[in-house]
Symmetry: D2
Subunit: 333 residues, 4 copies
């Protein structure tokens, strides 16, 4: 390995702190800078990783040696950071969602394209063996024409309470499945109808159900909730299925293969997304960052074109609009 990618991480919450640890352990990456508006958090991660700590992202971006950044900020802060990083000429890994609405997403894309920098959106499911194998099994020659797709992403109410109004069910969780459905169906969603409900008072919707149409004629079913009681085994449920004219394929993330039984009940744990084993974070997130590092260094294409990530945002906008209006809405692109 002749050269390592010099990386910074902006935003050191749940995801950013994991990005920092993964880069720090990656042989082709060198974590040189981390940044968070919270000085204590910054100092902690800087101390753990040996990276330089910043509280101002522009100071971090001014580092001349810096090659690339992970942006792991709340949704509404994506634009400022991404545009600044683009203008600073850095390769960017932006945690999903690309942005919290279509107009913002478009401005980010314009800035990135204008600056000519590398740009990848962190759609982790593109690195999950269950989703990737479903994608391959749904190739037209195996699946035939898609007939119907169903996607579920359900979590616990503790998550909704923790995020409060800083995100929403659609942009925090929903973007995963809208991207996955369009990717796996090889087609875009062009019409949606959604209903939501708010009874728990978490500052967010409790749940949103939708029926959607794809350009290729398939129909889709979307099931989002973070209203489950906190005792839900493993804390979340996600599944996706696609039935085609020739075959069908599905994935179900309910079973993680690992259980602890105590007097009070049986519980589980994550064995796919970002399990920490042997002192390191492995699994999908680590694989995503590995790809970002290698493809940035080699100049090869990222697995997900950012235009596909962009294609999910107008669908989320339409879903939100339909849930408010109570009527079907065409997706405007």
């Amino acid at each position: 390995m002749s050269k390592a990618l010099k990386v910074g991480v902006i935003g050191l919450g749940f995801f950013g702190s994991r990005h920092a640890r993964i880069y720090n352990d990656h042989p082709a990456a060198e974590l040189i800078a981390v940044c968070d508006s919270d000085p204590e958090r910054t100092a902690l991660v800087a101390r753990e990783t040996g990276a330089q700590g910043f509280n101002d992202l522009r100071a971090l971006l001014a580092l001349p040696d810096l090659d690339a950044v992970s942006i792991c900020l709340p949704d509404r802060l994506h634009e400022e950071a991404a545009v600044a990083a683009a203008e600073a000429g850095k390769a960017i890994l932006l945690e999903k969602p690309l942005a919290h609405d279509s107009a913002t997403a478009r401005r980010i894309v314009v800035a990135v394209e204008k600056a000519g920098v590398r740009f990848m959106v962190g759609h982790i499911l593109r690195f999950d063996p269950r989703y990737v194998q479903t994608f391959h099994a749904a190739a037209p020659e195996r699946l035939g024409a898609p007939i119907h797709l169903r996607a579920k992403r359900n979590g616990i109410r503790a998550t909704a309470r923790r995020l409060g109004s800083s995100s929403s069910i659609l942009f925090y969780m929903g973007v995963h499945d809208v991207d996955a459905m369009q990717w796996i169906a090889r087609s875009r969603i062009n019409r949606v109808y959604a209903q939501k409900v708010e009874l728990l008072g978490t500052g967010n919707e409790d749940a949103l159900y939708a029926v959607v149409n794809f350009e290729n004629g398939a129909i889709g079913n979307i099931d989002y909730s973070w209203a489950w009681p906190d005792g839900l085994m493993n804390g979340f449920r996600s599944s996706l299925e696609i039935v085609g004219t020739k075959s069908a394929t599905y994935l179900d993330c309910t079973d993680q293969g690992f259980y602890v039984v105590e007097d009070g009940g049986t519980s589980g744990g994550d064995t796919h997304l970002w399990p920490e084993i042997n002192g390191r974070i492995v699994g999908d997130l680590a694989d995503e960052l590995d790809h970002f590092v290698k493809a940035t260094l080699s100049g090869k294409s990222y697995l997900q074109d950012y235009r596909e990530a962009f294609d999910a945002i107008p669908v989320l906008d339409a879903l939100a609009q339909s849930a408010r209006a109570g009527l079907p809405v065409e997706v405007v692109r």
Copy 2:
């Protein structure tokens, strides 16, 4: 047991032939007559059970000793048979759906009420331990207020092909879950939006997805398909979940607990609905008929009031209308 219920079965297809066998094995029932328009089928069941065979249901209904009938005919023949049975003064177990549209359902109910006969609709899920326990776990004091409900009923394309245009996905399968959702939510559906798709050319819809609203404010998600390839393990998938403000409960009928492994693959089998073991049909269907026999003899109320079965039909009509129109539809009752 001082007296047995003298029973006849009208329609001897998949369900009718099972009704006949179950009655024939029931100590408080006496199967005295069976009827089908197909003389060979009638002769076969008559020979197996010792019951008298008829090809005309009115001849069967004219038997003076006959106390009760099971009607297991195709949906569109329900009215004629049910009205005739009511006029003949017989207690009636009518296989679901009550009827193939609201107007017909209403006429059947009027005839039954006018005749003053006992009347039960065969909603088998009301006798499935998974659904019944879900119903009890969803009692308001345990569940709190319902937030969202999701129901799935998916089968294989062989079923759609076999039925052709004699039924529809909504009336053959969908009625189960519309009834179950309203029963478990303790609330009625009052607004629906549906989309369907037809690519397989089976003479039926392939799938129908819907989002619905309940009178109590909860939202619902409906996932119906009989487009799955015929190799789907156990041949169907059904599940139902309800999340409330205090707890949540769900059931999933994917796992039947029994598997056969051969060189060509792993397959399963039914262990709940109507498994045949030790030469008899047991499980939910047998329990439903046991209830019908006992409650008819004792004069006690049937577990499902037929007005609840009736309440499902306008929802199905609205779903069909919405799927055609592509717009939300209010349920007219």
Copy 3:
């Protein structure tokens, strides 16, 4: 139904009280007497069912009208009750195990045969759709020759604590699987090796593992435990698999298809053995008693020959002896 079977239940603990309720609800049975050494328990069940209460089983057996009895006493009291019932000329349903050792089992069988009464041992798995379908799938023409069988029956430590020294892991739980393995393999176990462990101080073994040989050359693996923490989902785990030269079949009772999610965790419930739904006990136990009533009335053979139940007891004796001695033991018959 010309005549009902007049039944009594001896022993009104967990199983006996359920037997009483099931008979009381059965159209071909008439529960006329119940008996327990505890006067309060007797009075309670007598009041609930309308049956006459006894505290002395010989007084119950002296009822001239009584046709049949269920004996649901602790293992070590089986002999006295079964012999007395046989001498009184009653048909007998004896809850498993037949007896707590081979010598006692033999004395019971001798008494029954001498008296010429009907005799069935309550091996409930013979009425479980998962086990019965496994039995049929393991028919020689489908399975070929059996190669290996594995049976698991694991429960929670609360059960071991509750039973204390009144039963043992082998006779309370183990008899199920020894009977099931011999039944499904169509062959008897003739050599065993077992190890047990006692760390929890429940007054019972915590667990017993064994490797066994069948007369037909197959090998078997036995996994018994009631050492699991009380929070084990559904409270037990049982599974059985058999691999043959042509195919294999297995059952797994882990999944019951029904779940409740609360803040503290996810729990389940029984949907097969003796679920109480709609105010009645249904499932395997109800089906077992239904068979006992009908076959006793009709004079037809019971599904399980008591000699097969008897064949399990020497295997349990050998397992216990091997666990004590730490050496393989031949089964003496």
Copy 4:
């Protein structure tokens, strides 16, 4: 990254070819040489990876730049290759099992220790999130004292046929679980009893069942088979459970979360061990090699001490001896 580890792979079968691909994709490794006795296979892998091809392992080991080797040969060829690699001063990753008997294992260890080279045995379960999390959940402060452990590893008969007499069920599959049980129980097996069966004529045992004792007083149950029909979903079943005085923990690898449904049935796929997604091999095997590369470069300890791998071999010897003799055998160390 200042320096990459120069690696060679010896043996290019199922595992060796995967090792080669993984190293070739690893930023801190440089695959410089591959070796197989089959010239075509060698040429193929050399062409795909750009490494230099050898047919003689001593020629490969003579490369002065070479830092480390993966040895992926059949069990009986481990000694020659490992001793030669040790004498050549290379760091060694030896695919499990360490050797095909204790005496050979000892000679390998002696050679490695004499040469003073780094030495790791490829026990992949030490890198599987399900097994590693089970190990951590079974820490004494959480689990208490171990009471009983059960391990299952079952595969299809095609594997047994493919390997013929070149390996055995104990050394090919069994070594995984003997190592895992001793690791997770924090105790060694000191007494075993096993029975095996051979009906399929694959050139190998069909199955082996065993009951074992641990030094700490726990008992163990071992369930090995490669007699399953080839249609077993995912091709294998593995599970492991440990019940302790304070809690219990288990893992079950049956569910891989991914399914394909076709007319002929439902099948699955690997999502943990070595799934190939996005053109690369990820999962446990890739993580194991990543650890080998990094720890070799950094000089840090390998996660598994080779003495633990060595500790498994005498248990396998004892199991084989017991299965032949039909008696319990003490493990000789």
